[in-house]
């Protein structure tokens, strides 16, 4: 579904992504891990077109999307949620989802009918149901709890009915119990929507339990990839993490 | 706890206060006007704030002196005059609104429009519609009364008119130019309608009277420009024999101060139509030599006992020196008073206009001791204009030469024909 070929990107002479080649199969659930500064978020930024790669190709269902505008890439079916939830603070949950859905349906400039359109409401309601956000439908985004904000952020991306969904640390800043609830939700929506889902995660327990495949980035290049078991036993990975703060992480 | 309590309380008070104010604005005003029936209300839209607040202040002073005297003498049929002065801040749309409010809400029966140029045009449109008597006492722009398309039967002008100044000034300038051989002229006037038309007309008539005059440089600083250095140096580079300037008020003071630094006035003769005013001429600290100024208001022009008395009385009652605007408004007020006498206190616009049209008034500001409201175009004539040599101390002007009106009338007629105002 999503193929990265020889991606390179540097900022002011500092290479952030060095020759990354990865393949994400259609309908797969993969995790990207790596120490801080490994270039995980940069990789997401490249895929979503926030900035173009210096060289290399990004193939979405066989079509090269490298260098296209962020908006085009979104329209082609790449959705994204952010490490720090990126929301619309003054919109309620249901408003935000309906607004996102109407953008997906290319109805964002409709002037004649009142908001929300019936079709988008239905779409938004489904997402709220799926993510367990129905209970907070009327709450303003800025008043949501941290966990609900992260869920809404994912919800906004889901409203685009993406073929590929990128989640940047969906469990960041959560307590242990909340993390598991979050990741269950992610798994549920992955099953429900049958899409290619890629997430960045620090919690190894979660990664190894949930992901079908795991890619390890370090200093901007791919250190290892494979099933959780393969990666767990990969000496290079252990070394990379031991060099950092392995004790808690790879326990 | 207490702090939030008190804040809430104060908030409530503020809201309540605002509400009361609003109510007073809408309901209170007519109530007040009803309580004061019996007086003849005269509305005065003018400028009381910002850079030209002095215009409003000295205009109102000129009106007050006359109306106070009128009221002290018992008014007419027991009715006294009450002025309602409103600040339009010089914005034309505000002037129109204020004028309408003065008439409709404050029940003013007469409008004394002490606005500057463009706002006067806006007031003119209100008068066209409502038809009360209006005297424009400050707008010098010729077209206001000269252009028949703008004519309004009940509107008059008691201000000097640009074209009159230009012809009189051109004549005077040509005489000096011939005597001193001033051939190359430069101009420095504010870049807006008054400055442009005034300057063009002045130079046109200077050339008319002395064919040797030619304009070698023009400069157009913006109105209220704080710094004139680039204009001064440009004039310096022009190396002209003489200069004409229609700058006025604070702008003129700043220009002279700054030009002095470059010794501009040592190099050329200067003609400044608006230098003669108190508030300008007495503010210039380093006084240039060889400067000719137009007559605005001066206590020695005319050098009569009446004028000196008028000046003394004005300063005593108004606590500031009179300006050109003061006499223009004083004349306007005199016309109103005389017309009221003629109509026996009837303020009807048509009747008042009939009375004022062509009226000749005994006035110290007239060349022959009278001024006349010319019937053909509702504008003031026979008032004293002219030029003199500026001085740095009292009386600030010497050798004042009043312009003769016959040549002005003649050339004014030609000018009107050229503009297509008359056939």
């Amino acid at each position: 579904m999503l193929k990265l070929e020889n991606l390179k990107k540097s900022f002011g002479g500092v290479a952030a992504t060095r020759d990354v080649t990865l393949d994400f199969a259609d309908g797969s659930l993969s995790a990207i891990i790596g120490p801080n500064g490994a270039g995980k978020t940069t990789l997401f930024n490249l895929i979503t077109g926030r900035f173009p790669p210096d060289t290399g190709r990004i193939l979405l269902a066989g079509e090269n999307i490298a260098g296209l505008s962020q908006r085009r890439i979104v329209r082609l079916g790449v959705g994204r949620a952010f490490q720090v939830a990126s929301l619309f603070p003054t919109l309620t949950v249901s408003e935000a989802l309906a607004a996102a859905a109407q953008a997906h349906q290319r109805r964002e400039t409709v002037l004649r009918s009142p908001f929300p359109l019936a079709t988008t409401t239905k779409h938004g309601d489904e997402i709220m149901e799926l993510l367990g956000l129905t209970r907070v439908a009327g709450i303003l985004s800025r008043n949501l709890s941290h966990g609900d904000q992260k869920l809404l952020d994912i919800g906004l991306a889901l409203a685009l009915e993406p073929k590929v969904l990128l989640l940047d640390e969906p469990t960041a800043g959560m307590g242990p119990e909340e993390r598991w609830r979050m990741i269950e939700t992610v798994q549920r929506l992955w099953r429900a929507r049958r899409m290619t889902l890629i997430f960045i995660e620090h919690d190894m327990d979660i990664v190894f339990k949930v992901a079908q495949t795991v890619r390890v980035l370090s200093y901007g290049s791919v250190l290892a990839e494979g099933t959780p078991d393969e990666v767990r036993t990969n000496p290079k990975v252990i070394e990379a993490y031991l060099g950092k703060s392995a004790h808690g992480a790879v326990a | 706890m207490t702090s939030t309590e008190s804040r809430r309380a104060s908030r409530r008070q503020v809201l309540k206060g605002a509400g009361a104010l609003a109510a007073a604005g809408v309901i209170g005003a007519p109530a007040i006007s009803k309580a004061q029936t019996g007086t003849i209300k005269i509305g005065v839209p003018t400028i009381l704030s910002g850079r030209v607040a002095i215009l409003g202040q000295t205009s109102v002073g000129g009106l007050k002196v006359v109306f106070d005297k009128f009221n002290a003498a018992g008014g007419i049929n027991g009715r006294k005059i009450e002025m309602v002065v409103r600040d339009s801040k010089g914005a034309p749309q505000e002037a129109a609104k204020v004028t309408r409010d003065l008439i409709n809400n404050d029940k003013c029966e007469i409008i004394l429009d002490a606005e500057a140029s463009s706002a006067a045009f806006a007031v003119q449109e209100v008068i066209r519609e409502i038809g009360v008597l209006c005297l424009h006492s400050n707008s010098e722009t010729s077209s206001l009364t000269a252009d028949p398309k703008l004519h309004v039967p009940t509107a008059f002008r008691t201000a000097r008119q640009g074209i009159h100044d230009a012809i009189g000034g051109g004549d005077y300038a040509a005489k000096i130019a011939k005597a001193k051989g001033l051939k190359k002229w430069a101009t420095c006037s504010p870049d807006y309608a008054y400055g442009r038309s005034n300057t063009a007309e002045f130079m046109e008539y200077a050339k008319h009277f002395d064919g040797n005059i030619q304009v070698v440089e023009e400069s157009w600083p913006k109105l209220f420009q704080p710094d004139y250095t680039e204009v001064v140096t440009k004039l310096l580079n022009a190396k002209a024999d003489a200069m004409y300037s229609a700058l006025w008020g604070g702008d003129l003071v700043a220009f002279i101060d700054q030009a002095n630094l470059y010794g501009l006035f040592d190099k050329q003769a200067s003609f400044m139509v608006n230098l003669g005013d108190y508030g300008v001429v007495d503010q210039v600290k380093q006084f240039p030599q060889g400067v000719y100024s137009g007559g605005r208001y001066n206590r020695t022009v005319p050098a009569t006992k009446e004028n000196e008395e008028w000046y003394q009385n004005y300063v005593k009652t108004q606590k500031h020196k009179p300006t050109n605007w003061s006499w223009e408004n004083a004349v306007a007020a005199e016309f109103v008073v005389e017309a009221l006498k003629k109509t026996n206190g009837d303020t009807n616009g048509k009747k008042m206009a009939e009375a004022i049209k062509g009226m000749t008034l005994k006035s110290q500001f007239g060349t022959k001791g009278t001024v006349t409201m010319r019937a053909e175009d509702n504008t003031l004539v026979d008032y004293i204009i002219g030029y003199g040599v500026s001085l740095s101390k009292e009386p600030y002007v010497s050798d004042f030469q009043a312009s003769a009106w016959e040549p002005i009338f003649e050339l004014e007629k030609q000018w009107k024909k050229k503009q297509g105002y008359i056939s």
């Binding site: - | 409003g56 420009q225 710094d227 008020g249 002095n260 630094l261 470059y262 380093q286 500031h320």
Partner: protein, 300 residues
């Protein structure tokens, strides 16, 4: 349009020297005002729309001190100090109350201050334009230099403005005060977390910025007429300078002031009717192609 005249001027040294200095005079006074605006914006992230009023008060204060003392230097210094203190007061009593709120609320407070100060000036000093007159020590014939003409007072004005600008720059770049201020500009809460009382620094910066406006007013007083509302016309020009130079950059304000000064002085010869238009055009072009200004860092 009279580009021939401009070419002729550029061809003669006398004209070039005269216009260059005239551009510098306009530019340097503008710089004093704009540097205050840019300093306050850079550190406090507040656009002080009342800066023109501080300039006006500086000029009036200098006028009064001059009437009282008869010494121009004492009055100029007095005006700068007085306006500086007024600025601190303004910041503490009014502006600091609206730091957290909407930028437009700050604008409204400034607008109120502009209105109030204009009217107070009218009440205290009257609506008649005042002129201080040239102090006797500067009543000298203009200096002739390479055929150009330079009034001694203007020479003093340029040098004084440059000296103040240099001093300001040194204070910001070289002193501990300056380094705290620069740090606060980048991250106020962080500096505050280090145990430094940022509020005091904010007040000080506002005071310095105001004192600069006051000094500009005092320098302008001998040559410009004092009227209520005189701060109005200078305000827009100082914003043009601030934007062109880059909001928050003192060096930028310096360069942009000279650009505007020269545009005025040479523009009055080459395109006299479109000088203002050209200034706004320059501002528009800078904003379109380099929104952060010639020397500015991108806005937070």
């Amino acid at each position: 349009m009279d580009l021939d005249a401009l070419l002729r001027c550029v061809g003669t040294t006398s004209c070039v020297v005269t216009q260059l200095t005239s551009g510098m005079i306009i530019g340097m006074l503008l710089f004093l005002i704009a540097s205050g605006v840019t300093l306050i914006f850079g550190v406090l992230n507040v656009i002080n729309f009342a800066h023109g009023s501080l300039y006006m008060i500086g000029a009036y204060a200098a006028w009064t001190f001059y009437q009282l003392t008869g010494s121009y230097f004492v009055s100029a210094l007095g005006a700068a100090v007085a306006v500086g203190m007024l600025g601190v007061l303004f910041e503490r009593v009014l502006m600091s109350k609206v730091y957290g709120s909407n930028v437009l609320m700050q604008l409204l407070v400034c607008y109120a201050v502009v209105l109030i100060s204009d009217d107070l000036i009218k009440i205290i000093w009257g609506p008649v334009p005042l002129s201080m007159g040239m102090p006797p020590e500067f009543r000298l014939p203009p200096i002739r230099f390479m055929g150009g003409v330079i009034p001694p007072f203007y020479l003093f004005m340029i040098l004084a403005a440059m000296a103040i600008g240099l001093l300001l720059w040194l204070v910001i770049v070289r002193t501990r005060f300056g380094s705290v201020v620069r740090a606060a500009a980048i991250n106020g809460p962080m500096v505050s977390a280090l145990g430094i009382r940022v509020n005091l620094y904010y007040a000080a910066v506002f005071g310095i910025g105001s004192a600069l406006a006051g000094a500009a007013g005092a320098l302008a007083a001998p040559v410009r007429s004092l009227t209520p509302g005189m701060g109005f016309s200078i305000l827009i020009e100082s914003f043009i300078v601030t934007v062109i130079g880059g909001m928050g950059s003192i060096v930028g304000a310096f360069v942009a002031s000279i650009i505007i000064g020269l545009t005025r002085s040479f523009g009055s010869i080459g395109f006299p009717l479109f000088v203002d238009g050209v200034m706004f055009l320059i501002m528009a072009l800078v904003l379109i192609f380099k929104p952060s200004g010639l020397f500015g860092r991108p806005h937070r």
